[in-house]
Symmetry: C2
Subunit: 362 residues, 2 copies
């Protein structure tokens, strides 16, 4: 009788133990985030010095003083038992690392989605932007009302109309958040400064995957050229600074874009070839023209997508592994210029996870 009692007690205790363990694991997977380490630092940058000697009794005079600027700001989070390669996120024009954080309607962005999936994440504010605002060059900021332009340029719709089936949330609060997350340059955009800071980040953290958006695409290619620790590049709607080997520059692509024709950039063949040694994935969203049109936003991105296809073909001709995915062709409709924060961003994240898995990068 006593024996039976002990046996029952043992089963009860074992059940408790196992369910506690299971609960703990489930929490980590679905609800609670666990983080081994998080923090922030500055990387890259230049320094200017005013000639002369610093005088403590005349300390507002610049003589003998320094100014450190042009660095990137980095916020990072590393989960326990992180996957092999962390993800490094570089935002686009007029954006900061905010672009990868909460979406305009408050859902989780790629920062937290990929942290949950076990990746270390590094989010940059590029030199002369956001918390990396300290610049070694002068700048004038003018508050020019232009948000209806950006609504249209970023293919939420043709203002004030949203595109049919747009993956941008419809509430005005989300649109206000979207407008407010834009933040100005505090010095001119400088591809080389940004690529240098990104490359120094990889020197610090080791091998990783670079994820870029839009204007960040250009400095992204140059980062991968500078640093072989970049093990893959994933570019969302890259625009500008598509690099080609000397002598292989395609004709500029004419379009109705308000930014004019789209040109490639020449680099030495030996630099270009560095981009042929890593997997590269490029995604473009919806509402991009198939043929030239006077609808300038749709035509701007038509030029971008066409250039990306020419570029990937050039990479692949040189032995590389670049893929361009035009999302609507795979059945994923309605994406704006910001697929990673659109309403279907978990679907977009799944594509990235699949790519990393397929290339054995996760």
């Amino acid at each position: 009788m006593k024996l039976k009692k002990y046996a029952v007690l043992l089963v009860v205790v074992l059940t408790l133990f196992m369910s506690a363990c299971a609960r703990n694991t489930a929490n980590q997977r679905t609800s609670l985030l666990t983080i081994q380490q998080q923090g922030s630092f500055m990387v890259g940058g230049t320094t200017i010095s005013e000639p002369g000697k610093f005088n403590l009794t005349n300390a507002l005079k610049p003589q003998g003083q320094t100014l450190h600027g042009d660095h990137a700001y980095v916020f990072y989070q590393i989960p326990p038992k992180a996957r092999k390669y962390p993800l490094v996120f570089l935002h686009g024009a007029a954006e900061s690392k905010k672009t990868w954080e909460s979406t305009p309607d408050g859902r989780e962005g790629f920062q937290t989605i990929f942290l949950r999936r076990g990746f270390g994440v590094y989010l940059l504010d590029q030199p002369r932007r956001g918390e990396a605002g300290k610049s070694t060059v002068a700048s004038s900021l003018a508050p020019t009302p232009d948000e209806q332009f950006w609504f249209t340029q970023f293919r939420i719709g043709n203002y004030p109309d949203y595109f049919d089936g747009s993956q941008f949330p419809r509430d005005t609060a989300a649109l206000e958040q979207f407008f407010r997350q834009m933040t100005p340059n505090t010095g001119n955009f400088d591809v080389n400064l940004i690529a240098t800071a990104c490359s120094q980040l990889f020197d610090r953290i080791g091998d990783g995957i670079l994820i870029t958006h839009s204007q960040g695409g250009g400095p992204g290619w140059f980062t991968a050229i500078k640093n072989e620790k970049v093990k893959a590049v994933v570019a969302y709607e890259p625009f500008s600074s598509f690099v080609f080997p000397v002598g292989e520059l395609p004709k500029p692509i004419q379009s109705a874009s308000l930014f004019g024709e789209l040109k490639g950039v020449e680099v030495p063949l030996s630099d270009f070839e560095k981009l042929t040694r890593i997997p590269i994935m490029i995604y473009y969203g919806d509402n991009i023209a198939k043929e030239p049109t006077i609808v300038w936003n749709k035509d701007h991105w038509r030029a971008g997508l066409e250039m990306a296809k020419i570029w990937a073909a050039t990479i692949n001709k040189h032995g590389g592994k670049a893929t361009v995915v035009h999302l609507p062709e795979t059945g994923i409709k309605g994406n704006t210029h910001f697929p990673f924060s659109d309403l279907n961003n978990l679907q977009i994240a799944a594509l990235l996870s699949d790519f990393l898995k397929e290339k054995k990068l996760d």
Copy 2:
């Protein structure tokens, strides 16, 4: 015999279970961070609109377009079973939320220290700073070398000398990080804009504790006046905008400060009295003059500390609960203007934990 075996097995299983539980708890306390929710959003702000009608075919013209600016950016992290009140952190002059993140030498700052202690944390970039850079006013940025001034002003030492026993790390890499984390205004500093954004943050998140630094002290007092959801204010080295009831303004404090004399600011008695209803704690660090001196940095902060003492006495005369702690008088030596990121920041954090516990705010 069989009975004994079951008993032994039961003890073994129980021991395993308890040690697994203990390990899990210990991890959460010392090593792994657990987070229920994290994200970012913009709060507060104003909007300007250009008269006219937006014309899609002339979209670079400002007519009929808007510009949203002057909001704060907020990054937040909430641990599971968070304590009653979250901590809201407002940085000082030329800083961003970075000031509360990793220290210049890479240790954990108050963001992560207090997250580990179970507090929800909200970190702001104030309007026209950092990732809240979008401003409704014009601004000119000039890169003026001035870091040796700030080294001295912030009481790391009298440049190039560190103060004896300074709690600032001695390596040049840390000093470089410190210089690089400064980031410029993208529009004039506006106390009311900042306080309005902070107050709207409390409207959104509910009751909490406001933690300010330096220039953030002023908008901090106005936030607590605006919003009774501010349940306490903790101010590190507040400077500027000490508020007094009409008719009770003290004489300006003369000093050798390069910023000139220090004045209080008059507010209606009914506003002032709102600050008497919550606990207020103020901390100042080391190397502040006791008597007037021509050493301008030490004298600048002498004026600040004297004003803080007059202010706290006025608060308390009106029935309030304000305390000024001059850290060296409690035996804590060597703190710069940034006690929360100094080498002894865990000791500084312990004071804050003790204060919150004593006031039953944790």
